[in-house]
Symmetry: C2
Subunit: 403 residues, 2 copies
């Protein structure tokens, strides 16, 4: 068991947490040898020996004593360069950059194979909840039917503030940013992309299939309106931003990110504030629910520490399910029931509805509840992006009972 | 990757589930070669090729093609003989016998080391929830502070029926047995021993310390009375049978199994029926909650399948934390707040209370709420076992906020 000597890239919110946590974990056998930052003169949230700091990546890549690179920089391009460079040199990497990983996962898997090294990224999906590792190691058979959850702490925090505390959306967003829950580009959180990236990574480990971000329907919460909240309250449901991957038959699965009306009987109903919650459904164990802090410096850093410790024992993802026979294929040819609220935007009524269940018109706004194919919803994405339109999923078709 | 050829001991509730699940998991690369049962003529819940059945253990131990033994017999002594025999022969074993494992774990760890083989038992604690593997692999550092949960599906089912549905205790117990949740000896479930055995196993993987069953205070639900349920309802709490291991300082931890008044803000409040729920608390990630089916044929069998699949990749528990520096020591020198309801039994008032907070006397029964050292409670165990006494923990000292 060789002690871990870490070269750390990035000393922001998560990087500072890593420095603090590695200091606390007495039995971790891990030590930070060098920290690469953009600006070595910048004031940091955590006390660090100045001799550890460098702004030259070569000081890490060229240090033969470093046997693990941990990368938590807040820039997908830089993250891509660091991770691929490390893998090519055969140095194992722990990364928290879900955007980068979700875009480049097939190449990153290939690089790990070719250079016989490891990339771990449990921290990239759901902060402190060990979703990836459990999907890879524990739910490592073909009994899995569905993974569904609240994967973004920041948007969930905002929805909780707006929904449960009657706060203003903008004020809630600012508070999320102050608390360090929000990505530096908040559209990532709010428009559902952060959830999407995590869902893509989860799907690789859940079903063994990679689907590129552009192929997946993603709808966020930025156009949510008082009337949507009022409607949901009247129906005694909450609106949550939910990501899901579901097997719709033995041969096919679908996935999407969408606000959802969540009834009190569902596990994810009680996932509030910055928490994440994931439901894993399988053929024999029914539903399992995992719940924990999905954002913030120390929760994310503690997840990074788990990846670091896993390297002590040479752990790597095997991507077992990618080799499974009869892997299901991605489809958007599935019916969904949705609520679409709109104002002046024409065209919502002319969507290719399979069935319209309810229509409501008023001076202050209108809505339709109806059934529509996910593929048709996806094709109508520009229309749905109008500022006066809000879309929410009403779960119905996939679930015969509570989840 | 060598396909797994299983020798199965036991074809009861769980064994039948294993046969069914292995048949369904197409990519498991696992096959059952032989099944050893007490009575090969007995009618089974699952259809099995009669040629697989044997009543002679030597047919499994002597078959060189068998590379994994799965043991789900319902008898701790037989289980001990099978597991130790397999380990001595260097054959890896998956076992679901928590009573046996909790009693013999130090010897079983030593046997694994000496014969360089593996014993996996994730199925033994919390059915389908991957608690052991996560404590061992993911929470594998010294930031862990507490593991607390509802570990027994059967007693939880009974409490749910009695508490939420106003059913009679005896009727609820019979229903639990009919549904296959209860152990064949129901006192295991109801007196807290099943929870205790799981807690002992969890503690080895949580803190790296083994504590023998006889040293741990264990109190069940068999003496619960209408008046206790009425009292809890008035206070808007539920009574749950809770097992917990808690670090009370850097150097010391305590553990016990006891009914507990659980308030609605706690994660485990909503763990009802045969479900299990576990809260893992750490220094940096705060609280994580895992929830799933803790009893029943298929959920337990799916957990066994995860252990079987882990053997495909040569997985074994490393018992890392047993080698940690500064492991905490077990103590019962901690104050607890408890509710003790009693009828004619004298002596409850004379317990060595640190402080009495409330006393209530009535024609139909009495109770005291007060603070007492766990060691003193343990020393008074015979008194507390009287048929007219019921004890419940009021959590207070360990938790500064919700869990």
């Amino acid at each position: 068991m060789r002690p871990i000597k870490i070269g750390l890239f990035g000393l922001g919110v998560v990087g500072s947490g890593i420095v603090e946590i590695i200091g606390r974990a007495r039995n971790a056998h891990a030590e930070i040898r060098r920290i690469c930052v953009r600006d070595i003169t910048k004031k940091r949230a955590v006390e660090v020996d100045p001799a550890l700091l460098t702004d030259n990546a070569a000081d890490i890549f060229g240090d033969p004593s470093i046997n693990l690179i941990v990368e938590v920089v807040d820039n997908p391009d830089a993250s891509y360069r660091i991770v691929t460079e490390a893998l090519r040199r055969g140095i194992p990497v722990v990364s928290g950059s879900k955007a980068m990983i979700a875009r480049h996962l097939p190449e990153l898997i290939e690089l790990q194979r070719r250079h016989n090294t490891a990339l771990l990224y449990d921290a990239s999906a759901c902060g402190s909840i060990p979703v990836i590792r459990n999907l890879e190691e524990y739910y490592d058979n073909d009994l899995l039917l569905e993974v569904k959850g609240i994967l973004n702490g920041s948007s969930n925090y905002i929805l909780s503030r707006v929904f449960d505390h009657g706060e203003d959306y903008g004020a809630a967003l600012r508070k999320a940013q102050e608390l360090g829950f929000a990505e530096s580009d908040p559209t990532f959180d709010i428009e559902g992309f952060d959830s999407l990236f995590k869902l893509i990574i989860i799907t690789v480990h859940a079903l063994g299939v990679y689907v590129a971000p552009d192929s997946i329907f993603t709808y966020g919460i930025s156009t949510i309106h008082d009337s949507d909240i009022r409607y949901a309250r009247e129906k005694r449901v909450k609106i949550k931003l939910v990501a899901q991957v579901v097997k719709v038959s033995d041969e096919r699965f679908t996935m999407f990110v969408m606000p959802e009306f969540v009834s009190p009987s569902k596990y994810i109903y009680s996932v509030d504030d910055e928490y994440n919650g994931v439901v894993i459904r399988g053929e024999c164990y029914d539903r399992q629910f995992m719940f924990g802090k999905g954002a913030g410096s120390l929760p994310t850093a503690s997840s990074i520490l788990s990846d670091v410790m896993a390297r002590l024992h040479g752990y790597r993802y095997e991507y077992k399910k990618m080799g499974f026979a009869g892997r299901p294929a991605f489809t958007e040819d599935v019916p969904l029931r949705v609520y679409v609220r709109y104002g002046a935007t024409a065209g919502v009524r002319d969507l290719p509805w399979l069935a319209v269940r309810e229509q409501y018109f008023s001076e202050s706004g209108n809505y339709i509840i109806g059934d529509i194919r996910l593929a048709d919803l996806h094709a109508s994405r520009p229309l749905l992006s109008a500022q006066d339109v809000f879309l929410a999923h009403i779960p119905l078709f996939f679930t015969d009972r509570d989840n």
